[in-house]
Symmetry: C2
Subunit: 348 residues, 2 copies
């Protein structure tokens, strides 16, 4: 720490009081006469004194800092969460640091974190976490305040704030069915957070509710990337008869699928309806604009920060798992299926 420039000792000396009195005057709790307080404040200002947070932490104090751990800050959704959380944290008079853990959270990284971060944060929020079960278990045992956002891969004792993927997906697919679609495909994303699985569950539920069979070729595995969506799209569009609608686990894959369709001269939405998830900016830039589903990110971010703050302050936490309904954004990539063109698409 290279000898902090100005310490409480100097402030106290300048103000002609004891260190403890200076401490009380600065922190605001404990009895200090107005006169003394003013003297101390004046001295502190004159010297340009700044509290050494580390030293305070060493004594068990709060830092008023929230840590947010993400796996992929480049993701638009993650980014939106982080930004909204930063604003909400500020409202709670807290600061917020972001740790971009590229890749999976395993025991190794866990070590580093608990070492490095222990004591630095008052609490931690994991946004769309990709973590091993071991890591999660370690977190569950920890006694420091933690909140998970959009994690539903498995049950946990930690508080979770999440968007409703199942119902959103079911309703979206139901709306396709209502438009006359029967051969509806689904492109999965990575399994990390469990969101893709929930969306798939919603998809299957809607199909089942309508008494429609799900052909095993209609469910493709992607990786949330546009590229993977395009590849999955190629495979789906090569089927005969081909699906008349595709629901992708996120917008990027839906856009990739759209590109695959356009490449083959298949018109969207006339010949192929598409629905994505997340409502990223690109969704309203591509033509046709993408119909999609959207979590209320700002609300969720607020809820997560507030829940964390509550736990930091040892107030009774709210419910253990809070779920927010998603919203469907209908744009131009979905249309009623007029006639069912039973032509066999044989072209490569």
């Amino acid at each position: 720490m290279k000898k902090q420039s100005v310490t409480l000792v100097q402030v106290a000396a300048k103000a002609g009081v004891s260190v403890m009195t200076a401490s009380r005057a600065m922190s605001g709790d404990g009895y200090v006469s107005d006169e003394t307080r003013n003297k101390v404040h004046a001295a502190a200002k004159a010297l340009g004194y700044a509290t050494n947070t580390l030293a305070r932490v060493m004594k068990g104090g709060r830092t008023n800092v929230i840590g947010v751990v993400v796996n992929d800050l480049g993701s638009v959704v993650v980014n939106a969460f982080v930004t909204a959380m930063t604003e909400e944290a500020r409202k709670c008079e807290m600061d917020l640091f972001i740790y971009n853990s590229i890749g999976q959270l395993d025991e190794q990284t866990q070590r580093r974190h608990s070492q490095l971060l222990h004591g630095l944060w008052d609490g931690l929020i994991y946004v769309l976490p990709r973590m091993t079960d071991e890591y999660l278990e370690a977190l569950e045992k920890s006694d420091s305040p933690i909140v998970l956002v959009n994690f539903c891969r498995r049950e946990t004792t930690l508080p979770v704030v999440q968007g409703d993927n199942f119902n959103a997906a079911r309703d979206a697919v139901a709306s396709l069915i209502a438009q006359g679609h029967q051969r509806i495909a689904f492109i999965k994303g990575s399994h990390w957070t469990g969101q893709s699985a929930e969306r798939e569950r919603g998809y299957r539920q809607a199909m089942a509710d309508a008494g429609l069979r799900v052909d095993k070729h209609w469910v493709e595995q992607g990786t949330y990337s546009e590229q993977s969506g395009q590849e999955a799209g190629m495979r789906l569009l090569a089927l005969s008869p081909r699906p008349s609608a595709v629901f992708a686990a996120n917008d990027e894959m839906a856009i990739g699928c759209m590109n695959a369709a356009l490449e083959q001269g298949i018109k969207v939405p006339e010949e192929l309806s598409l629905i994505g998830f997340d409502d990223v900016p690109s969704a309203s830039i591509v033509r046709p604009q993408l119909t999609t589903l959207r979590h209320p990110i700002a609300l969720m971010a607020q809820a997560a920060v507030q829940e964390l703050v509550r736990r930091i302050q040892r107030q009774p936490g709210r419910r253990q798992r809070v779920e927010f309904p998603a919203e469907m954004v209908v744009r131009d990539s979905t249309a009623t299926l007029l006639a069912t063109p039973r032509r066999r698409a044989k072209k490569a």
Copy 2:
């Protein structure tokens, strides 16, 4: 800090040595017999010991943490920088935390930071910083390692890593002139980092080099937002004669301008050529795809981290200001001006 679970004291006790020996064994410097070291390591592992970074810092040690301060994490460019820096930091065996200071850095926030961060970071990188002169001066006086990225609003004694805005802008505008354009407009961005001013300087230089006059109505003030670009575009396209090309200080504004043109039925690039800056993802999604300029973000991020690490290790820093050439990405929003349609655009 709520009583750290396992401390060196316990490890030492378990290994049957003194705390100091345990410390030496863990940190690796100082003489410790192999046997003792092994005993200590075993004990540490068994107990799940993790060094308390804070305590170490209190004694003047390094944290191996780099802090990155940004003003707007939502910006695609900022985000790309941060991601690249995180990767580079990891290569240097450092961790990297991000602080998203929404809005301007002034004396108030400066206080908080120097307080909170002092001792926590080994060094700080400011990416596209928006700071008051007072803040910058405080930074210049500080003796902790600091690197600025893409800041050129004014001279500074701090090391700066930046992209070459002037030459990039000049060459881009020169290429428009080579395509026959003469009435070329420029849309400025916010003044924070000074990058817009440099791009404007390049624009004016290219015009002057070609002996072209810059009509004062051709230079519009925007705010880097798509909305502001659209508004500036409306004003520019209402001029008579109207500009045949627009160079915007960033892609978002160029896209806004493109939308303004499309709304008025002005064809891009046939009737209006457009060049942006940054090469954000949207630039290749819009139709026509946007011609733009791009800083080598990954290289710059690496340079910034490496320079910072050098200064942290008290190695002789390299040059005080490093500039990277930008690259022009020619897409479909620019075209040769065939005939100069001198028709008066009178429609509102």
